[in-house]
Amino acid sequence: MAIVAQGLGKSFGSVRAVDDLSFEVPDGVVTGFLGPNGAGKSTTMRLMLGLDRGAGSTLFDGKPLIQHPHASEVVGTHLDARPFLPGRTAHDHLRMLATDAKLPKSRIEEVLAMVGLTDVADKRPKGFSLGMAQRLGLAGAVLANPRALMLDEPANGLDPQSIQWLREFLRAYAAQGNAVLVSSHLLTEMQLMAQHVVVIAKGSLVADGTINELVSQRSDVLVRSADSGRLADALRGAGVQVDRDGDDGLAVTGLTTDEIGRLAFDAGIALRELTQRKASLEDTFLELTGDAQDFAFGESS
């Protein structure tokens, strides 16, 4: 059940928080939702769920969420770090969420065991750590076994083991044919978790595709030669983009190392170095969103 967001828009006073944003969250893969602080990720998620009022629409399995008879079976959400009453036990919190799909008690116990909270099921979560709170939020999201998940920063506060568990859980959940949208600031984690990413900055879409597509667009080949001028002419003659990189280096986009080596050999140019440079998701993210961060840091001394 894919999620399709169309023309989402939202303003807060004179600030355009989300601007004509359209994207799709496909089935079967984890979709990472990335953007700098203040980019509009959380607002977008709330707009998609109808929690915030704004322009555009979001279709879950072809229909707005409000038209589904049991929303909890359509999409599970975890939007806040501590989305529960501190005085209500974890079990009762889930019992409340189970009312829509009329889930049995056994299902509540199953998800509590899944997130490792069985021992504290009857405790009030006011003393829960951030990690435990995130687990309870995740338990609530998957309780009705929905066909889509929307999670806002679910890895915040989790220890490395829990993050690894979350990554494997979400990939397995998506692999069952479900749509999973996860926002996160942890780019290295997102590179391991997500197969598809949507990147926004200042409320607008800046990239939408698989991680491989995004990263390969920003990867290049570094080639060094004593005769870099002639090599550059030869490469440009092949119709590829060539930029200077240091005294004798060239950054080449659009050819593989094999193709560049063959071209240099044919031109009789000796090479000192031929290296494939693959951008990380972090590099790609920074390039895409470079000047779009709200409240940016000053230069470090």
Binding site: L51, R53, A71, S72, T77, M96
Partner: protein
């Protein structure tokens, strides 16, 4: 509608404060009824007999106290959700907002009816114990079983709904609790006093809390008229609260 009602029942019944407030709303006025009845009758005995018609202290006089305690349950219906961010979970689970609003109001009404009946019963028992302690034997206030008792329950329910509507309107639970109490014990008495000087007899019909309190003790159409005005005031607050709930961000 059944889903939101089930949700509301679990929500309201799984917090200790609901049960604590129900107990407080019954026991404190019951204790006061006991004490006042005992004091009045005992003092009367020493002076040669209880004052004529002293009977028990009467539940109606303590109803505002019960209402002030129980209105917290009404305010919490929305207040807890906004305070702890639960409203997003609620509206993700039940995206249709009108049924959520109506389910909350209905559950508040159901719980407050039970709490108010228990409170009135406790006050009658308190009054009977007070008269027994004063040596008058158990004197049961039988009017509690009749229309005054019914009007008392309605009064407490609408009082709590006022707190519910104010909280829904302002998204501020303390305000939802404090405003009705401040109006009932401070603002309206001042307005009444000014109106008395100006000879505005009609003002008691316009003031929600003053009128409703009088309505519990009144008879016939006057009693129901006062409670009707009280209900109208609730609707005046509830309608914009519902419209805003449908239109606002969460």
């Amino acid at each position: 509608m059944r889903g939101p009602l089930r949700y509301e029942w679990v929500r309201i019944s799984t917090v200790k404060s609901t049960w604590a407030l129900m107990a407080l709303g019954a026991l404190v006025p019951a204790g006061l009824a006991l004490f006042v009845t005992w004091i009045v009758n005992a003092a009367g005995s020493e002076a040669g007999g209880p004052p004529e018609g002293a009977g028990t202290a009467g539940f109606a006089g303590f109803l505002p106290l019960t209402a002030a305690v129980l209105c917290t349950i009404g305010a919490a219906a929305f207040g807890q959700e906004y305070r702890h961010g639960l409203i997003r979970i609620t509206l993700s689970t039940y995206p249709r907002r009108t049924p959520v609003f109506v389910a909350k109001a209905l559950m508040v009404i159901a719980v407050i009816i039970v709490a108010a009946v228990l409170a009135i019963a406790a006050m009658v028992v308190g009054g009977a114990l007070g008269s027994a302690l004063a040596g008058q034997g158990f004197v049961w206030e039988e009017t509690a079983l009749g229309l005054p008792g019914l009007r008392g329950v309605i009064y407490v329910v609408i009082f709590s709904l006022m707190a519910f509507a104010i909280t829904a309107l302002t998204r501020n639970q303390p305000l939802g609790i404090i405003l009705p109490i401040v109006f009932a014990v401070l603002v309206e008495p001042i307005i009444s006093a000014v109106a008395f000087v100006l000879d505005w007899g009609w003002i008691d019909w316009a003031l929600p809390f003053t009128g409703a309190t009088a309505g519990v003790n009144a008879e016939g159409l006057e009693a129901w008229g006062h409670l009707g005005v009280f209900l109208l005031w609730f609707l005046v607050l509830a309608m914009p609260a519902l419209i805003l709930f449908q239109r606002r961000d969460d």
